[in-house]
Symmetry: D2
Subunit: 432 residues, 4 copies
């Protein structure tokens, strides 16, 4: 049999220090391969199982690269809010200080800005006292910002504060920044580990089964959709229109539609649709209203971007707001039914900020704890240029260079077909 | 001493039937006067207590005008959603059928439209079975619509269905409609009682201490403001901007600000403010951001309407959206700080539909039960042209013609001063 | 006309200092009489209105007894937890420091123990920083204890720390202790004001319309009763038995039953009942189960205490646990249906600790803010030996010596009759 | 390479009918193997991957055994309540009627009792109308009962009503009953499929990653533990003692402790402990109280069963209640600190019924939908004697005979070590 391919995280060098956790558990996870990356194969052909990729399992290691008592840990949170940020910060802090006894933990403020001297955002020292109850609130105590910063300046800051391990909590851009830092420290030959905890409320990181905050977000939609349903039912041809997060993937919108059966139309980026024409969304909405007198429509913010080009063709103003599909739908629905001389009452819900700023639910809280702990385990063992995440229900190390691709809904998948069945929407709402 | 003035509800005539509730309680409330209407006096001068108005107490009466077993009750809900509508419908239905044993209860659908033949909205018969669990959901099972309908046609419908008692659940316009119906039936000499249950989530009916759904609405703002606070704190000069209900009064916004101490600015219709200038809102917001790096702003939808005139003067496009103070503030804040060359991150929350469509909380549920029961007690005794409501913590009968005035926040009152103290906002944000 | 009787709070002496709040509002509440104490009269006879009692209105005064900049404030919380304790502590602290600029605020820990030297509970200084977000959590940051302490030792502690104003947050016993302190300082001729904020989750203080935390408690019962209903309905002859707070009055149980219509039996201390016999509770429960196959029973912890005597007569073990009516009912129901050879599935809910330890809801939060602020206003003006509370929807000063009596449900009142109607339970479940 | 072992579900025979779902998705899951059963191997040795078991993937099949239009479906729910029961009933009903167009769906009431004639529980016909909103409430509309019934009588009932497919929603005993029915229908040569949806709020089915309702239960503990923490902190040596579900495994208690960091001791059935002695729980609790003055203890109901034997040895009364570990701990803690002459304030929380009776959260709702749909897909294809469940994040078919074993927490696992770290409790609390 051909040798199975095991994908391992980079390491800074030979781990030589005994872990303080050694002996606490019966066997350590010292790099065994784990659940396979079967995204293209679906196990249909067991003959080819030998060329499936395996990932390194996350977990504490017996030997550490760093001597804990000398280690300074840095943490930074970047990009938009997501439930669980404070849980991850807390787990990183507690595991570093309590399980490994590191020298100190520094929280850099306002994202990567906090790692660039000219912004004057001095870091704060994180302790078990000042992070003890932070997970009970949403947001991030380290604050955040968007955008990249100069890699060299970031590394200068790491050197200045003697940071040995940097944890980067953020999305795609953040992890690309982390990769740049890794390359920079390599060039300078610095023994600094960079480990990412991927953050995307949209749940769209390829290979990673679930990102923290996603389940909390889906849970938060339940009441909103129920309320949209109440609004819709209370008026003649009432339309409860709910705009949810999901820039390039519709996981939140689709999961929300499966979780709350009151949804009649679910529009996601992966499934283009037309507004007009005999098979367009508006015609189907009209039919629904004629039959039931009300409808609930859930739309991911990245859905229907094709519509803007069409509209921009006829409307040269190029209004930036047009890219807001929720507002576009609201206006188009109103215009359409006015033209049809049919009453319609659109009630618009845009709860995004109200969702992403809440605390993690219990399941996400647990997940954040595990992510934080295992990021520390990895970094202490000298792993770098990697993220931690769940894959086939196991925590693994995933090299950052593999993280680029986005996980999107396959319209041919049974997951999406279940959404189609649950909503009873047409499989296609496009005219061609 | 001069005789105290007792304000009583109209009555259809002499109540002659024994109430089935007679004997169930030790004494009946047969029209005693009750807690005084002291809105202008504040009891400062006890010498003048004799010219204070007293209202008739709500409650079951020993003698009824209607013979219950022959009575048909009609119910209609009008206008926007409000938590508790289903509770009121349920209470009216249960009290009519179970406490009095009326012949039947009809629910007219889609507001006053349901009382006009040409809309073809046939009424549904309400029973204890089909209303038993409706209070567990938001919305209104009778559906709603806005706007007046022809009074004669409404009365024709009442006659057609043999309705003896009509309960009108709705706001100002609805109760004006109810008054028109009363006048119409008087002219035609019809023994039909019309009793209103006033609905305004804004809590702005003069003389009425509290309208149903209001407390639920305030409760619902708590999490939203907490989340806006989390968003604001997470970004440099973050501004959590929360647009709440309150077209002509700021009770929800002000109460929300007292209930959740994270609010830094509370803007209400009763207290005009300027945007620009040395004492304008934007200057104060800037000062706050310079000191604290974040702010939470709560605005009632009817606040700052003066600003639109000023803006319309310079901007002739007359964009309809301009009347949305939330959007206006969002745009003006962004423009101002851009001009000031100062970063600001505005996060906009507009949860109105998500608030008004939820179920009543426990305290409102109880209140709706009491309102519904006492509306039935009043109507069965032949009272008409009135609403029920809480006044100095007692349920009273209030003649509809007295209902016109709006209860607004007095900027000189200690209530508003408490808001000013709690938020630490300037007492005035106007330049002149 | 005879002079109306105005009940005023004691005062330490002549208020001579200008209030820093002076000029901030248009008119100050300098002791006007207010909404009447009509508990026995019901306004039935307006002729006698002149002998009604009037209470002093709470609110800021233009003149203060204390010079704010020299004032040390003390705060203590006693007895069981109640939603809103932290809100009151926060309001007292903020109003003292920010509105009046007092010298310092001391929080005494573990109730009255914290005011007795031998317990070594040193007070903590309360600031706007360390109390800013305490209202977001349940419990009390000052901790609590039960029971009285020696008055002289308490006063020694007040003198030691230079406390000018003591705020006592607690129930009956606490306010009796406050009264004792007042008498003690009078004897020693000390200018110390003692103002109470009455705490009883049971809502049973006579003359006070509503105590803080009560509405939160009732709200908390909603889900529990709904869940008890789900349990009851799921099994043959399922009985959801919910034990709620209410040692000597049934306000929580009764209000919970009005707020959630799934309750079939509501048992309160004010309405004795028999278990056995043809008109006993168990017979009526049996009838209910025969008709509907399930029932929800809500019982206040102080209900049915008469039953223990009867049982003790036959059962000499005198088990202390027998005084737990919830457990007694659970056992008696099981025994009864076993004897009747009829299946019954009792599901027992005892959520008390889980209710009283939660944070205040929005409405209670607002109320706590007002209570705290007005307690400070009163004390700064030199008022003492009093509590603040809501009476006919206005905040008043109530002398502590008037506080003794308990507000209980009058079984003849229309409030209780509404409970009887809503639950459809028999008006009487006693055999004699 | 040796052939991988694929574990397939039994089938009634050759599927010959085209599925109405055929063509709706691009490829059907016709029995491919899937994520491996690696419970004992941990992928440590990739050489042996060929002898790993693979399970059949759940999903719709192109060919059906049953002709949908002739099919009668039966559903039964057994045992204790669990969040999501109504979701599963709804999914089974909707998928059967809408996706396959079966003739009818019958709901048998009160568990297996409903399948035995002598109980006179007639089945109800389930439709998309009468199940449309059932998932919004906890409990089970089909009601439940405990215990086995005679298999022959059950089969007689299936024959009487012409049931072709029986879905059994329940725990171990229920699925053993299902297996007996399968054997019975085999003997009688009846083409009846029996497919189980495993229910255990404790999440302790071996091979199944997660059972429905479990995440909802863990979520529900968050507030309770937070409240227990508030109670504990408010009193000197306050102990918040929370008794949670978990008869033979501690998944809920352990997950709750990971989700809410306020837990200081987590006691589960898998990790025995002593009460007394130098390394006993009480000594450690004392140390905690001496250091921190409060503690939160979470105990699974099945923990510490060893203690009862010891106690029974000295206490011959054999009180049945003694088996309640929560009550035992409460009493023992009180007795211990009384003997130690040290104040302790134990606040006891037993929320079990209040947890299991609530509605499913969003994530469980989605899971229930998928479980229900895939159970229908399997049964329509003629699969029988199997359950559906999640395994390594994929839905599989698992033969009922493989279901016996219980999934318990391995005290040597990193999961449990994380609990030990998070709580800071001793790894061992036993004296020997």
């Amino acid at each position: 049999m051909a040798e199975a391919k095991i994908i391992r995280a980079d390491t800074l060098g030979e781990p030589n220090y005994d872990s303080p956790l050694k002996g606490q558990i019966n066997r350590f996870y010292n790099g065994e391969a784990v659940a396979c990356n079967d995204r293209t194969k679906d196990f249909a052909d067991l003959e080819s199982i030998d060329d499936i990729d395996y990932f390194e399992l996350a977990g504490p290691r017996e030997k550490l690269f760093f001597n804990p008592k000398n280690v300074t840990v840095g943490i930074v949170t970047c990009g938009g809010l997501c439930p669980g940020l404070n849980d991850v910060i807390r787990a990183l802090t507690f595991c570093s200080l309590q399980s490994y006894g590191v020298k100190r933990v520094l929280g850099f403020k306002y994202g990567y800005e906090g790692l660039v001297a000219k912004y004057y955002h001095y870091p704060i020292e994180l302790t078990t006292d000042n992070t003890d109850e932070i997970h009970e609130k949403g947001g991030t105590i380290l604050k955040s910002s968007r955008g990249a910063q100069d890699t060299d300046e970031i590394i200068n800051t790491l050197i200045h504060y003697g940071v040995d391990i940097l944890f980067t909590i953020g999305g795609d851009g953040t992890q690309r920044g982390a990769r740049d830092i890794v390359e920079g420290v390599k060039k300078r030959n610095l023994p600094i580990a960079v480990v990412g905890i991927p953050k995307t409320i949209d749940n769209d990181i390829d290979l990673i089964q679930r990102s923290f905050g996603f389940e909390t977000a889906v849970e938060a939609t339940w009441d909103i959709i129920t309320n949209a349903h109440s609004e819709a039912k209370a008026y003649r041809n009432g339309v409860g229109l709910v705009n949810l997060m999901g820039r390039e993937s519709g996981w939140i919108a689709a999961s929300a539609s499966l979780a709350n059966s009151n949804v009649n139309f679910c529009l996601v980026p992966e499934v283009p649709f037309d507004l007009h024409g005999p098979n367009g969304f508006l015609q189907h909405l009209k039919t629904r209203l004629q039959n039931k007198e009300h409808a609930v429509v859930v739309v991911a913010e990245g859905a229907g971007q094709n519509l803007f080009d069409a509209l921009l063709g006829t409307n040269k103003s190029g209004n930036k707001n047009l890219n807001d599909i929720g507002i576009l739908l609201k206006n188009e629905i109103n215009a359409y039914f006015k033209a049809e001389n049919m009453e319609a009452n659109v009630k618009y819900f845009d709860p995004s900020y109200n969702i992403r700023s809440r605390r993690a639910n219990a399941n996400d809280s647990m997940y954040c704890l595990r992510l934080g702990n295992n990021a520390v385990h990895a970094a202490m063992a000298g792993k770098t240029n990697m993220i931690v995440g769940l894959h086939h229900d196991r925590l693994i190390h995933l090299p950052i260079p593999m993280v680029g691709a986005r996980k999107t809904i396959d319209p041919q998948s049974w997951f999406w077909q279940t959404v189609v069945q649950a909503t009873h929407q047409p499989a296609q709402m496009a005219n061609s």
